[in-house]
Amino acid sequence: MTTPQERSVPKPVFTDAEAGAKTFPDSDSRRYNYFTPAKRKQSHYEDVTVEVQPDPRHYLSQGWLYGFSDGRGGYPLDWTVLKAWGSDRPEPERYPGSGGKGYDWPATGWHEFRDPNEEWELTFYRYNSNVVRQVNQNIDNARQSKAFEQWNQNWVKFVERNVGAWMHVDHGLGLYLYANANRRAPTNMHNNAISVNSMHRIRSAQDLALYNLTLTEEIPSFDGQAHLEAWNNDPQWQGVRETAEQLTATDDWCEAIFASNVIFEPLVGELFRSQLVQHAAPRNGDFVTPTIVGVAEYDFAERDLRYTRAMFELLTSDREFADHNKQIINGWLSTWTARSIAAARALQPIWSQPDSKPPRFEDGLDAVKSRFAALLSDLHLDVPKELGQ
């Protein structure tokens, strides 16, 4: 009879290393104590986000260790011209015997920003998984119920060209404005919120592209390449395209986020999505497209604009630099409002393309202008005269 060989496995050991097993200094200090929470109690979001990206103004005693070729490392504050209180304080000097302490938390106003959406990985994947599930179900359901057969030919053309063209705006800004900006801001709270914004746009672009693929498969006359022609050559879309390209060419990260989320999206994005597609589609027998475009609208209106508003409210009411910031932002408002209104007006001819017409272009433009003005008021900013163009 052979004796079975004992397997080599680690043996469980009772260690009693659980919280509360003993009392000693710090035994009940069970919260991250290196930052001050925005509210009375620190949130889960703050715990997983705050201070992961260091700042030599408070705890980074040895400073940044790797720099670009000009010798600057980390996240220079002058990557935007806006300032938060404390921005002008010099970084603490370190030298033999200096010690390592910096300024008390938060050292600058930049660290006061919290994403009101409280996005971290758990919330982010839940939200976006729900979105793609919902979008898929809507499209599958439409396919099964032969919903696309109800579309009239002009609406087919409208969707293949115009709804298709918008995917390029989402994709271009998602990658080259938002994802790009996630390297630029001085705190983890800013950069994480911006990276989530980026993924909303990239996902939305893909939602539209894959919807386009489905329509190509389901509607015999649907031209799946027409969106390229519209984006590259349609005069109506060239204003949007030029403005989108200008946005990606913006060096200052605050300007890029502000111009895109506070000006371009309300004046052009919402005009196209809410005032045109959402209104026109049902009248033309299409109940599917609004559910896909509506998801992107929700991303923007309820989440991306929400963090943007919180980010810029802090800067326009900053205890040290509010006037400085408002003066600069007013300049941005002037420039980007003019560009956005011009892009919006260039789109006007597409309002007349569907058989059943949506509300008038001017009414839609008035609606978004009105919303834009209210947004500026919330941010303590003046409405630029260019809005009247």
Partner: protein
Amino acid sequence: MSRQSVAKAHQKIQELSWEPQYHEPVSQYGTDYTFRKAQKKDPLKQVLRSYFPMQEEKDHRVYGAQDGAIRGNMFRQVQERWLEWQKLFLSIIPLPEISAARAMPLLFRTVPNPELHNGQAIQMIDEVRHSTIQQNLKRLYMNNYIDPAGFNNSLRNFQSDYCGTIGRQFAEGFITGDAITAASIYLTIVAETAFTNTLFVAMPAEAAANGDYLLPTVFHSVQSDESRHISNGYATLLMALSDESNHQLLERDLRYAWWNNHRVVDAAIGTFIEYGTKDRRKDRESYAEMWRRWIYDDYYRSYLVPLEKYGLVIPHDLIEEAWNQIWNKGYVHEVAQFFATGWLANYWRIDPMTDEDFEWFEYKYPGWYDKYGKWWENYNRLSTPNGHHPIVAENVDYVYPHRCWTCMVPCLVREDMTMAEVDGQWRTYCHKECQWTDETAFRPTYQGRETPNMGQLIGKREWETLYHGWNWADVVSDMGFVRDDGKTMTAQPHLDLDPKKMWTLDHLRRMPPVQSPNVLLNEWTPEQRDAFHADYIKQGPAGRPAPADD
């Protein structure tokens, strides 16, 4: 995923990219590499429609396991020796992760392949996932493990501590300097492809052996994203290789990245796995054995060597030298000994080694006891306060080492230490390769070629200098490594939580002041420096003083 196949969907989303007609996107990062517009395919074929539900499903498993661990009282079986080292590891790792997210935009303008940008954007958000899921794991440890000190002030600690500074290279190297050097070669080709195997696979296995199954749960979930990131790096590397003029830079960057990763990651992970475990089964793999399997065989022989046929110059000598350091020169043991020597400047507790540990080390690393055994016996003897100083200020045949200017790990393999006057300052290096990195690689010219985009080593790279002349109690207090009674130290050289056995700031007041080795080096005459160097390279192993001349 709906009826559409992944391949078809992926092909469709390629229609999204467009060339600018009116304004070029902003170009904020430079590279000395050049890329032909060779159309390399995105190897990931990842579409967000399937990506999000996949990640959500992985999250369900992670968070389900976390609930189970708490309900099942996992912490009654967790080894404190192990969890203490997680105070260091989990303070470091969220920053490299988030830095990898921040690194992706460095590649957008420098790698002209829109198809790859999709994969890079997904990598960006993967890294946000990793950073926050790891912060969350640390929070769970803080809430449920017996000693929250060190977890509770984790990020302040990490940013003030010399070990944290060593680890921070593993983040800052991703986001600065030449865009390709940083975000492609250092990050994806070396750090992710080679060293995440030891970080995220080998180490979690050791955690499980120490009663902690949450580290494997979280980090295997993280590692399942890494294969996609490795593909990003591989595609970029193949593009770079197609241009002959890049070969010189690739050779430079592979040497730097390989050596720095070895110095930093092997120091930390080697210590966690060898000195943080209570699992002393003789048939469990040592770090050296894991390294041979995961890095030498899987990375070097299976991944790097086949790239030679595309013209990549592989640093064979440095791979063999890293192995030589680990196997023959006791690199990991020297580092662990130094971490324990400097326990008082840390924020976790370091358990003394026992006879069982000694036996295992001797079995796995023959000759270990003769080199390190006596010192660890002294560590044990001096671990509770009893009228003596912490071990760093006691005579235990250990010479406090100088610090390597480049990798910032001390110069522990004494015979390899080199010294040079660079940028008007005398600096010590742990190895000639680290000297090369500072003197030759991180410069605006390389082998006569202009490299204007190469980064710089900056910062106060020697921690002791900031506290030159300070009393140790003030140093620890300044760094914030003190518990909530205002005097008991966060760090301890043992695991006994009886307050009477714990060191306090009062115990440190009697110690001699901190002396910065680098400040002293620069104060000496040339003759003194030469004598110092001659003596230093005769020291060791285990930090022993140089033998007296006959």
